[in-house]
């Protein structure tokens, strides 16, 4: 599917990120996922009359971190507001959120487009708010059930400017944002489990026009792939309507991943009349410059900075550096391998080709790898020290991947150590030359190509363990001598 070239898309994303605090935003209930229903609730998050919310200080720290990471402005004074609506998963009848004075404004992040160019995407605002409970419908006759364990889990809502112009850019933005949140360790970024959720605002307009078209909001996008597909579908739907002389209805649409299509959400009889007002139970949040400075000092190295450093200081290609900094875990794996003495370029190759290749085939994440970064670093060091050949190293790696054993033990136990002892190699070469007089003759007549064949014979005789440099040197010597 590709959209009409006469039109361009205007896309903005709203991301809800669950913050990894231990306790909820306004009470001491645990935020642990998957507990028995309604066991992690108290009068505050279940919204009993007379309770008072008290803000979790760790959430404020996480919001400041996130704001700094996207170069946003952190408000000295921000304010909580009530967003009023009725829904069974919202026991208070209002959501405590931030409206007029959010904690972060005017951030940005940079995405890399498919053609390798970079684009700055504005972040309008980031605000703190409470998550709602969960409703269950499956298999329940004539009723729905409510589990309030999630109620009061802290969220950051991150709102982008409508700066995105293609589904691919939207995907790149989400990947970058998720990587930043994970590097900061403020959100685990799992879209399938709902700890990171995304709504997309989509409109189209003719190229060259500056006036924005009517937009629709897409919900229920539980993977980056679905976000991209839903945007593509929606843009085409809008273009079809406009081309046939119709006009777009501003509405919220639900994406159905099973049929790759969206449908309008049932119209609320009173759409979007939230009657925000300042939350009377919470005075304004005041953040001092000292507090911001203290957080800034402990900010980890973020993906962009790490990628640039890998290119500049370690000599990696842009591509390898991009692959290795895509997740915090991958970057840590690489850096730990290099700490064992592995050459950065070699380590980058082994990780992106051998390790990721195997992990992808077996559908595993790098955190689940039996090969530890320490062991991989040591394996590469063995190659660098000529203790094993690159070919043997792949055999050793396969065993490491299956068993998690360390490379030295595997080399020892399987007798894979490279033979660099020239005496031993010389006697094998003598045997090979004696067995292949015809090739020796050809070589001496100038057909130097047979050298490859002879090297192969030696390697075969030593089961690949002979040091290739030594074999080449000695063979050359014998043949020309």
């Amino acid at each position: 599917m590709s959209h009409d070239p006469l039109y361009e898309m205007v896309i903005g994303l709203e991301v809800h990120a669950q913050m990894r605090t231990r306790s909820k935003i306004f009470c001491g209930c645990s935020t642990t996922f998957g507990a028995e229903a309604n066991t992690q609730i108290c009068p505050v998050c279940a919204a009993f009359p007379g309770v008072l919310p008290v803000l979790n200080t760790e959430l404020v720290q996480m919001a400041i971190k996130t704001g700094l990471a996207v170069h946003g402005k952190i408000r000295e004074k921000s304010e909580f507001s009530r967003k009023n609506y009725f829904y069974p998963d919202l026991p208070a009848g209002y959501q405590i959120s931030q409206f007029e004075l959010p904690i972060i404004e005017q951030g940005e992040l940079t995405i890399e487009r498919d053609d390798g160019s970079h684009k700055r995407i504005g972040i309008t605002r980031i605000h703190m708010e409470v998550d709602a409970g969960k409703s269950l419908h499956e298999g329940i006759q004539g009723a729905s059930w409510i589990d309030l364990n999630r109620t009061g889990t802290p969220l950051l809502e991150i709102v982008s400017e409508p700066d995105l112009s293609t589904p691919q850019e939207a995907g790149a933005y989400l990947k970058k944002l998720r990587a930043i949140l994970r590097y900061l360790q403020v959100c685990d970024g799992n879209m399938e489990e709902g700890s990171l959720r995304c709504d997309a605002n989509v409109s189209v307009r003719r190229h060259g026009h500056t006036k924005l078209g009517t937009r629709t909001e897409l919900k229920n996008l539980n993977s980056i792939r679905n976000v991209m597909r839903a945007i593509e579908y929606e843009a085409n739907r809008q273009i079809d309507i406009l081309e046939s002389g119709g006009s777009i209805v501003q509405e919220t649409r639900l994406w159905d991943a099973n049929i790759n299509a969206s449908r309008p959400m049932r119209n609320k009889e009173e759409a979007h009349d939230y009657r925000y007002f300042p939350e009377p139970d919470l005075p304004p949040l005041v953040i001092t410059q000292q507090r911001i400075d203290a957080v800034a000092q402990h900010l980890p190295e973020l993906p962009d900075a790490k990628r640039q450093r890998f290119v500049r200081d370690l000599g990696l290609s842009e591509y390898d550096a991009g692959v290795l900094t895509a997740t915090r875990e991958m970057a840590m794996f690489f850096e730990e391998s290099v700490q064992q003495g592995a050459h950065p370029k070699t380590a980058a190759n082994w990780i992106s080709v051998e390790l990721l290749g195997r992990l992808n085939r077996e559908n595993l994440e790098i955190e689940q790898s039996k090969v530890s970064p320490n062991h991989l670093g040591r394996l590469i060091t063995l190659i660098q020290n000529n203790e094993i050949s690159g070919k043997i190293a792949k055999q050793v790696f396969d065993i490491m991947f299956e068993t998690g054993a360390n490379p030295e033990t595997i080399v020892q136990e399987h007798g894979l150590k490279q033979v660099s002892d020239t005496g031993a190699i010389e006697s094998i070469i003598a045997q090979v030359l004696a067995d292949n007089p015809q090739q020796v003759q050809q070589y001496r007549e100038g057909k130097t190509k047979v050298m490859g064949f002879l090297v192969g014979q030696v390697m075969k005789a030593t089961q690949g363990k002979a040091n290739p440099t030594a074999v080449n040197a000695i063979l050359q010597d014998k043949l020309t001598g």
């Binding site: 645990s30 979790n56 200080t57 829904y87 005075p283």
Partner: protein, 95 residues
């Protein structure tokens, strides 16, 4: 100033209040009176006054991120109009 009867109907619907059509005119008059009373504030010049959301001038207090498990599931569910297998039970939300 008088608000239209439509506004009262709308506000009642937002608040999930069932209001008889017969009582709407009286409610409209009462709400208009309340708004007129509050509207007197508009006569003041507030050009140089910083907007205020709270009467008490203090920053919001913050608490440490510590889990306190109150273990009060039964007590909290006891107040619900309807309960099933440890859940709050409500009329079916989606078809």
């Amino acid at each position: 100033m008088s608000i239209p009867i439509e506004t009262v109907r709308h506000v009642a619907a937002l608040a999930r209040l069932h209001v008889d059509e017969a009582t709407l005119p009286a409610l409209t008059e009462q709400l208009s009176n309340i708004l007129n009373l509050v509207n007197q504030l508009n006569e003041l010049d507030t050009q140089d006054v910083v907007p205020m959301s709270h009467a008490v001038d203090m920053p919001t207090p913050e608490r440490p991120d510590i889990v306190v498990n109150t273990q009060r599931k039964e007590a909290l569910l006891a107040n619900a109009p309807d309960v099933a297998q440890g859940h709050f039970q409500v009329p079916k939300i989606i078809e």
